[in-house]
Amino acid sequence: MLTTTEIKAIEHEISLVPHKKAAVIEALKIVQQQRGWVSDESLGAVADYLGMSQAEVDSVATFYNLIFRKPVGRHIILLCDSISCYVMGYRNLYAALQVQLNIKFGGTTTDQLFTLLPNPCLGCCDRAPALMIDDDLYTNVEPENLKEILAKYT
């Protein structure tokens, strides 16, 4: 079941496009924003609301890497693993994060605080290596800075 808040937001998106189906990515974003991720049940609710099959909605949902089809932690860490960050040492950051959080890429900490994901180029390659936590961008990150950065998120 979609909540009234979700329905209102989805209806707004539908009003901007020529047919309902075209709003499916926006609808998934809205649901994810409210619930953290898109469960089978949420996906079914979006499909019903837009008059689409679940398979069709899932084919879209699973195409985009930032629609989460599995539960994630409260904060998402996106570590850039692309070329400039490779040259500038993202692997040292990854090693330090693995130790501090005790998870690998794709993992969520046992306290559900962080999910760690690799992400292609964050578009600040002149300030590599870079990572994002939720909406915040961190650049020229050294492994020594990680503790302080992570401590901001509770």
């Binding site: 629609i67 180029c121 600040c124």
Partner: protein, 398 residues
């Protein structure tokens, strides 16, 4: 030296709001063109300026616009889309323009929309550019409030809506026809061309897609003329260009320079040369999908034609430097990991081939390579070469 695109960008202070932008001549081009020019005239001015697309392919922008059918049903729906997906690894130029001069982009898009008589436009922004999203939302509202967007713009009868669309990942969203599918709520797989988007694009309607930097050039061309724009350059390709350098150089960064500076100038004068103790081994001149240039290419001009003659592509103009202490096999493996991951899976050679290439490179990096692996890699450069796959991702990877 003129820097029209970045003259008013100062990273240490917020971008100009609409009043500040107008005070330095902002929206003058919109006021003039919408009132005094015909759409055709605007298309011609842009074509004559020899502005070439800054998204990588380098196609003449005015010529691209001229393929939009302008006769017959004038009231037909048309779209203008700014490609702000910027996900090519090593590329960080559009971020500067989006965060630093949002009204310049909006103004360029209004002019483009007028040139093809489109009434709806979108900025397709990658998810990671959160700051740009916030700035663009505010700027769009300002432009609506000032009457540059909406109904009957400046009393000319021209209507234009502009929406910000933020993505949810995937490099393929930057390929222009895949972007159209993404905007329509579908998987971002590319479409067959022809028909080209200029004839049948978003929802089957005539559409132009241009890069952010391309649109940002347009107001200046209108204000100062095609000849002036051509004269900014040091080469056959017109205008200035945002050039970037990343990797182990002394001053990684981004600069607006005359089109056609040499690799050497960029590396030595602007990026400050290699870091102490490191040598230059090679560079990808314009993002992950461009081929290596080496020390024999230092005097190559960074314009579309010269870089192509040197066997690579100008691409996005943001160079990634490989130093002599970084493992070249690991470097290439990193690139192939990206391309294999981002393949949209639509066509077989790319979907099946790239993961194979990635695995071979990993085994080479780990010292487990076999003699035959080199032949296999070579075979893939052919199998995934230009013209053999649905879009340019695979040839870009090779």
């Amino acid at each position: 030296m003129e820097r029209p695109l970045t003259e008013h960008i100062h990273p240490d202070r917020p971008p100009f709001n609409i009043k500040e932008y107008e005070a330095v001549g902002g929206y003058a081009a919109v006021r003039m063109a919408l009132k005094e020019w015909s759409p055709k005239q605007l298309q011609q001015a842009v074509q004559e300026s020899n502005l070439k697309g800054r998204g990588g392919a380098g196609f003449n922008t005015g010529l691209k616009w001229s393929f939009v059918p302008m006769d017959g049903n004038a009231a037909q729906t048309k779209y203008v889309i700014a490609n702000a997906d910027e996900m090519e690894p090593g590329t960080f130029k559009d971020r500067l323009l989006l965060e630093g001069s949002p009204h310049q982009l909006i103004e360029g898009m209004i002019l483009a929309a007028f040139a093809i008589q489109a009434n709806t436009s979108y900025i397709f922004l990658r998810f990671a550019y959160k700051k740009a999203a916030r700035i663009l939302r505010e700027s769009l509202q300002e432009a609506y409030d000032a009457g540059y967007l909406g109904k009957n713009i400046l009393g000319t009868g021209f209507n234009l809506d502009m929406h910000l669309h933020t993505g949810v990942g995937r490099y393929m969203c930057g390929e222009e026809t895949a972007l159209l599918n993404a905007l329509e709520g579908k998987r971002a797989t590319p479409r067959a061309k022809p028909p080209f988007p200029q004839v049948s694009g978003l929802y089957g309607k005539p559409t132009i897609v241009n890069n952010v930097e391309t649109f940002c050039c347009v107001p200046h061309i209108v204000n100062k003329g095609a000849a002036w724009f051509r004269s900014l350059s040091k080469s056959e390709d017109a205008g200035t260009k945002l050039y970037g350098v990343s990797g182990k150089v002394n001053r990684p960064g981004i600069w607006e320079l005359p089109m056609g500076v040499t690799v050497r100038e960029l590396l030595e004068e602007h990026a400050g040369g290699m870091r102490k103790g490191l040598g230059f081994k090679g560079a990808l001149p314009g993002g992950a999908s461009t081929d290596f240039l080496t020390s024999e290419h230092l005097d190559v001009k960074m314009d579309f034609k010269s870089v192509a003659e040197a066997g690579s592509r100008l691409g996005t103009g943001t160079m990634i430097v490989l130093d002599d202490a970084t493992c070249p096999v690991g470097f290439v493996h990193n690139l192939q990991h990206f391309f294999a991951q981002e393949s949209c899976g639509w066509c077989t050679p790319c979907r099946e081939g790239l993961p194979w290439v990635e695995k071979i490179l990993l085994s080479l990096e780990n010292g487990e390579g076999r003699e035959e692996d080199l032949d296999l890699l070579k075979m893939h450069t052919d199998l995934l070469g230009p013209g053999k796959t649905f879009c340019a991702l695979a040839p870009g990877a090779m």
